[in-house]
Every structure is written in structure tokens, then in C-alpha cells.
Amino acid sequence: MGSKRNISRRRFIGEAGCASMGSMAYLNSVLNLGMINTLAARPHIISNTSDYKAMVCILLAGGADTYNVLVPTESGEYSVYTTTRDALALDKDATNPAQLLPLNYNDNGRTFSVHAGMPQVRDMFDIGDLSFLSNIGTLIEPIANKTEYDSGNKKIPLGLYSHSDQIMQWQTSVPQSRSAVGVGGRMADILHDMNTIPEISMNISLAGKNRFQSGNQYNEYSISRNTDASNIGFKGFPYYLSNAGYINSVKNNAIDSLVSQEYSNIFQNTIGNLTTQTTESIEKIKVGLENVVPLNTSFSATNLSNDLKKIAELISVRSFLGANRQVFFVTYGGWDHHDNVLGSQAAMLPVLNNALSEFNAAMKEIGMHDNVVTFTISDFARTLTSNGNGSDHAWGGNQMIMGGAITGSQIYGNYPSLALTGNDLNLSTRGRILPTTSVDEFYAEIALWFGVSANDLDYILPNICNFYSPTCPASVPVDYMPIGMFS
């Protein structure tokens, strides 16, 4: 929702950037709006605002067992995989039906397969439209191994292994705090003005309220996969009443008057503002929806495919929405497979597979393939060992990135050893893997591509300086995008 909030801002004292990192005051100021002043005073570094870029974040809510999404198949590593996972292991040699599909990838003998429910993901990987990020997770600072983890000298994310905390931290990238403000929201704080219709939020959600898209200044705008020009907005008195136009305006004006009064109670004030913002946004978004031309790409009849279809439609009418930058957010839930992980993944991964490939095709159809980056996030990966036929909460896991702007056919990060013993990344008898790539590093690169300046990176990602030096743009955090995309 577009309009800026009235907020009392504590002034941030000192220069932004890595110099002041490590100070608690600095973090608090980022989390509590103080830095906005500094940012607002800074000229935007974006030279060309006529380009269009969007990112699509797909939250696999519940903590997907991604060590069965991307599986090591080099014989030694595969043997460790089957020993550790035992009843949960997929058979790389099964053919009828196959359980794993080999990727066209060989890194000094290391080879990998994807779950057999994802043939199009395999194809997109092979042709360079998709890559994996391996053993990525929420971190405040790098932790090299179990010894460091146990030492008590390293900062550990709050509520590690709990859904509510880890799902939040993947969205906020601030694992030391239970903050309401997320990565996409903070990007909107900086980049919102690149869009020309201020009532329409840069952040559009197909999954309702979420932390990823909440900024210090801007909320998400929430839309449903079923929303179109005919049903958006408030229902009105039927057209066959001769005075329908007049009484509808009386009704809607009364609502506007009620919600836009000044309220001193914080809850009344908030619900009033949210309703006003909703009304304003609806009017503007409706214009975009009226201009949607049906896509040729066909989408499956699943919620996720229809969510991504709605996003594709919105991207296709970006000019009517005045959009140069957009962040979309989708949730596909139900990955908390404490039970029946094999059967559930066999049913759910094809849904993800189809939705991703359909969206990828739609972006090619509308000529936006190079302008849109899609990625998955999830609470955490799961224990390598089973609890019978399910797995429990763990930490680092594997995620996907897709689109023309990324370098495809790669597995970024370090796919970890899956051994329970003699493995200094394994934190538990259950097989919980310490992440070797931080969520920060991943987001930093996409933020730079999106147009966030290197100097503003630590506003988006307050911990980034623990992982990467943002003032040195010759290097990139993970390097999953070709250098030069953002420079």
C-alpha cells in the first residue's frame, strides 16, 4: 500500500556502512527506522529508471526436506546419503518409476540429481534457466564448524529450529531479532519511488500479510489469485437499481469518512489507515487488471500455478501499474513432513515443478525472462535421519533460483557432507547441518541487481558486513548473477 506512514523517527547518528557495524545501536537504528533519514537524504544511484525488474519469492512454508530435492550421486557421497537417510533415501538406480533425475553437471566428479517429481526443473537447470544454492540458511555471522557453534562465542539465531522463528528470519534476514520488517519491505523503503503510481505498493503479495514484504515505510498490497477487474474492490448495490450509482457513492464515501477520521487509539488508527490504503490501492490496481490480456502459456489448476499466473498477468500490465520494480510473494505450504516425507514430496514437488516451469515459459512469452528472478525459500531443511518415515527440523538446506538474469546450471555454495560422524558441519545425532552460505549473501546479490546501491546494502541486510564487503562492488556475495548486471 502506497502512502507513507506518519512515523516518529529517531535520527540515526553516524555514517551508514560497515564502519559502524557491530554496534547494537546501529542495529537498533536500522530496525527502528532511524536510518530512513540517512537514506532519504541520499540521491538514488539508479541511473536508468525505465528498465523493469521483478523478483518472485516462493515460500515453501513448513521447512522442506531439501536433501531429497537435490541429492549427491557421486558413488562415495551417494553411499553416505543412503546410510544416513536410510528409510528416507531415494534410489538413484530405480527406473520404473525413476526416483531421481540426473542433472547435466559435474564438478570435479561431484554429480547430483533432482527428485523425480521435478523433470522440468531438471530441464531448466540443464538449459541454464535455473540454479541451486546449497546449504544456505539463517546466520548472524559465519560459523565455521560444530566446534565454533558449541564454543558459545558465536551468535546463534533466535529460536533455532523453530518454525515461527526460522520462517521469520528467512524473511527478515535478521536472526538476532524478532522484527516485523523484512528484506523486500526494506528494499521498498529505498526503491519505492522508482515506481510512478505511489498508491500501488512495490510489494504485491499472493499470500496475504507477510514479513518479507513489510518495510519501515511501506506495506504489501495483498491480492488473490481469483482477483480480477470484475471483482476487485467493494461490492455495491446492483446495477438494476436506478439510483445504484448514487447510493454506492454515498455508501463508499461514508466508509472513507469513517476510516479516515483521526483516532488516538493505536489499533483504531492502524485499522483506519490500512482500510484507507486498501481503498486507494484498489482503485489504481483495477486499472491494471482491466488491461490484462490472457496469456498463451497454460497454467496447471493448482493454487501455486494460479498464484504465479496472477503474477505473470500483473507483470504483463506493469506499465499500467507504473511499475519499474516489483517484489512478489507467494506461499506454498505443507512441507512440515514429520510424517510420510517420501509420499508427500512425491505429491507436492510436481506442483512446484509445474508452477516454476509454467511461470518461466510465461516470462519468455511476454519478453520478461531476463527481467524477473524467481527463488524459493523455506523455514529450514530437515534432519537427515528419520523419525520412522518423516524428518524433523534442522537448519541449512538447498534452494532454487530461476530466470534469465541468473547464471544457470550451477550449484552455488557448498553441498555439505551428509555423514553423521566425522562431519564438522553436523550439529546433532539427528543430522542437522550448519549452513555454509547465509541468507544475507543470497539476498545481497539480488538486491544489488535490483538497484540497491552497495552503500545501502546494510540497510536491507543489517548483518551483511559479517559476510561480505558491500563497498567493494567488484566482488559479489555468491556470484550467481553475471558480474556487470548491477554495476
Partner: protein, 600 residues
Amino acid sequence: MKKTTQTIVWTTLLLCVLLSTKARCQADTIVIGFGGSEGVLVTASSNEAPGDPENTINFAGYLPNENGSSRFLGQATLGYNYNDIISVSQTGQEDWIDSQFNITRPFILIDKVYEYRQTYRDSLNNQTANTNSRMWDYAWWQYLMTSSDDLRQRIAFALSEIIVVSEKSAFGNNALAMSDYYDILLDNSFGNYRDLMQEVTYSPVMGVYLTYLNNPKSDTTKNQFPDENYARELMQLFTIGTTVLNEFGEMVYDTAGLPIPTYDNEDIIEFSKIFTGLTWYDRTQFGRGAYNDTSYIENMVMWENYHEPGVKNLLNGYQVPDRIPIDGNADITDALDNLFNHANLPPFVCKLLIQRLVTSNPEKEYVKRVVDVFKNNGQGVRGDLKAVIKAILLDPIARSCDSGFDTNFGMLREPFVRYVQINKGFNASTSSGNFRNDMDYVYQYVSQKPLASPSVFNFFQQDYQPIGLIEDVDKVAPEFQITDAQSIAGYINGLYRWVIENNPADEYDLFGGEANSGYADEISSLDLTEEVMFTNHDQLHILLDRLNLIVGQGRVSQSSIDIIITALKEFPNSTPEEKLAIVRIGIYLLMTSPEYLINR
């Protein structure tokens, strides 16, 4: 002892009221012995400590006025009508609570489901046909609309948002499972929290939802370990929470300024060993699926061979002994006792309950007073929910009209509760007196209906902070987590359907092909005959006063009322249909106003 405490509390509070410049108590409470007018307040009948000021000070001694009764019922029920308001005004709040405690349940939900199932089976001529999810929805709604135990229903709904299971699961289409679980909540709403923990733990509904039914002991040869799901969520969400709290419900921080975890993952592993060995009551083998629909309605049973042997190191140094022979039920009792007696449980649970009923950010002393009652109901009993409910609803903070003027006080009414309020407040009725409603539209519009949250984390989380003013003053507002453009427009469109179009419930066939006559007499319609008498322009203020009382506690301001009256005057107003439409539009507008939407 208890009375003395209350006296002190009241004296302090009244002092605040006297000193407050915004003590616009108007006629919110008619207080016998207090004087009923603004600024006229009596602190106590005597300043001498030994006196028993009960009749002056506590709530037995005075009666609320109508606005005060409406406000009380807005906290203590899911919905109420004009007659309920009058009734509380005449009996007083504490007596009303006592009379509610004495109402026995008119029926249990599962019996209603059996009834629907029999109708279904007879019509199909198939005596083995199973239930479907609609039968659960219908049973829940029938109970709501026909039972007078409003307080029990309010508490059960609150508990359903704390000890969560959801129809978004394997048993979502099994009305017996859904209703049996909700019966546990209704049965224990006036019971003891420890008993509730026990019943929930043995319910196969929870066993399936959090995957510890058929949870076997470790088998290290297969790298197989007990499922951690229930162990984790039982602690995190149902009993003690993740961080150490003091008795005021405030987080305690360590020297580095960080919250202190209540348990770590090793503790979860220990607790996970406790919840092994449970399976269906009607199976002759461990590890099988449900035998049939009714598998869900009896407690799970312990199979000792599948229960993890050995000691388990629980919290606060408590160790479950290495029982020989293995006794899984004794282990469970020990573990639940360990959590029930944990110092974090009373503040964690009490704060959640206050947030569900009264206010999102309870003052610390308020939490402490309720916590004290949770720890000891006055007769040495811990966890007595009747005492806790009284402590929450009769606390000076909940009752004083002055709290309502605190800018940080109150809570966003849950969208589903607003929906119930329409049906109860405006007397939805059917020709047969039976109701059915699968709550389809309300779920579509605002994503809420009983036992339908997306996960065990409920529809929203207790510590959710929307950005803006609420976050700026570091307060929480859980219900705002489901308040976005979709649900804001959805709710307003729902109002249009429910009130203006007079479609307050969603009635469907019980089964494919049920004749329309099967439910024609169960179609709900709002009864606005009292209200429609005041639709002439010069009487619209009477109409709005009445609507304001019924849904708005009389707290919707004159400026908002004026906006609504001005709008209503623009609508045609001659035929009976037009007059009825005026009432409907009046309700619609009132229920979109922020002053209604915030319960304070």
C-alpha cells in the same frame, strides 16, 4: 486474603481515575455506592484496613449499565443480543459468570454429527457411509446458535486458537474427529489446564496432527529417532513458550540483553522420547492407519514395546526414571506434570488468554494478578480455569471504563468473531429453530473459521507487530497478521452479503441430492423488527444508538454516528423494504468503523 488484594487494587485504580484528565466515564458503569456521574467516585467505604468493603468494592456490589454490559459481553462471548445485554445489566457480571459456570452442555458436538450421519446413511441406504467436513461445521454452528453457554463457547474458541489443530490435515473431512476434539475444549473450558493437557495429549486428533501417533522408539541401526514434532510444539505453543518470562508475563533478558531460551534442542529430543508408543485404540498392530472414522474418537493407547526405554532428562533437572517394566503412560504423566508445574506456564498461558478475551497488550500487573490465580485459585489448586476466567474478566483493567480510553488498550476484533456477532446480535433465526452453516463465505472472505488455521501456529501469532504506530510504541496486535487488502475488502464484502443481502449463513445439502426441503427450514435470516421501527429521519439517532449498543458497546463516537446518519438520509425511505434496507446499511457502516472494529 483475596479480598484484601482486590481492595488494594481498587484503591489504586480509583485514584488513577480521579487523577486522570480523561476520566470520561460518562454512564459506562452505574456503580452503586460509587455514584453514577462523571467525576463522582467513592474510593472505599472506610479507610480502615480491617473493614470488609466487599459490597462496595468488588463486582457483586454494583450493576453495570447497558453499555458496560455490552462491553463485558464483547469480551466474554462470541456474540450476544440486546436481551443478553439487559440480562447482564440486571444480574451483574460476576453472577452472570457464575450462572454460566452452572449451565451444563446442552449436547455434545459428536452426537449431533452422529445424527447427521444417520440421516445421510438412511438416505443413501448405506449404513457404513462416513461423515464429511460439512457435518462438523453444521454441528458447531447449531451449538453456537442454540446453546446458552456463551462463556464456555468463548473460552473453547480461545483455547482452539492456543492448542491448535486444523481441518487442513489428514482428518479434515472426518467430522467425528473434528467435533470430538472441539468437545474436549468445550468440556475443559471450565476445568483444569492440566486435565486439558492430558486429554489433548491422548487425543488421536492431536496425535495425527502433530505426528506422534505411531511414533516408535529409536532404532539406531536405521538412524531412526523419535519424532520431535509434539515435543516441540507442546512446549513452544501449548505450555511454556520459547523464552523465560517473569510472573508479569514479561521476557527476562540475560546480561547480554538477549532473551533466555526456556529449553534447547536437547530438551526437545528428551521430550520426544516421552511421546513414543501411542497408537489407535482399535488396532491390533502398531504403525497402522486409522481403522475407520471412529478410530479418532477414543484415546490413543500405549504400546510399551514401542515406547522409548531409559531415563529422560526433562526441564528444571527433573529426571523421568528408567522404569522397569516400561511404563509409557507414567512417563507421559511425569512429562506433563513437569511442564504444568514449570514457572513459565502460568504467565505464558494467562497472557494468551487475556489477549484472546480482553486486550492485546495487558498491563503487567493485570497479567500478574491472573497468574497468581492460575497458580492458586485460593484453595491451593493450580490451573483452575474457572478462577482464571473470573480473574481475567473481572479484573479492574478489564472492567474499568477508563482502560478503554487508554490509547494502547484493546484489540482488533477477530473477523470470525465479528461474523458471529452479526448472527447473534441481530437474532439470526430459522423457521425450524435448527441451523446449518458451513461458514464457507466467511472463510473465503477473511480466512477464519473454527479449527481451520493454516498451521499449528494459529491464524496469527501472539507477538505479531504490524508496522506503523503499533510497532513504534512497541506493542503487539496479533489479529493484524490476517488484516491485509484482501481481508479488509473481504470483510466489507462479507458484511454486504451477510447484512445487506441477508445471507448470514451458508446452507447446503448435507449430502448430494438432499431435497431442498431437507434444509429449507434451516435457512437463517436476520430479525431486525425492533430496529426497523426507527428509520424515519428524525429517529435515525435512536436506531444508531441501539445498533451502537448492540455491537459497539455504545462507544462509537458521535462524529462517526453523524457520518452514518448523514449517509442513511440519502437512501430512499418509504416502503417497508426501503426502511429495512436503511437498518441493514446502518449496521454495515457501523461495523466498518474503526471504533467498532477495535474491542476496548
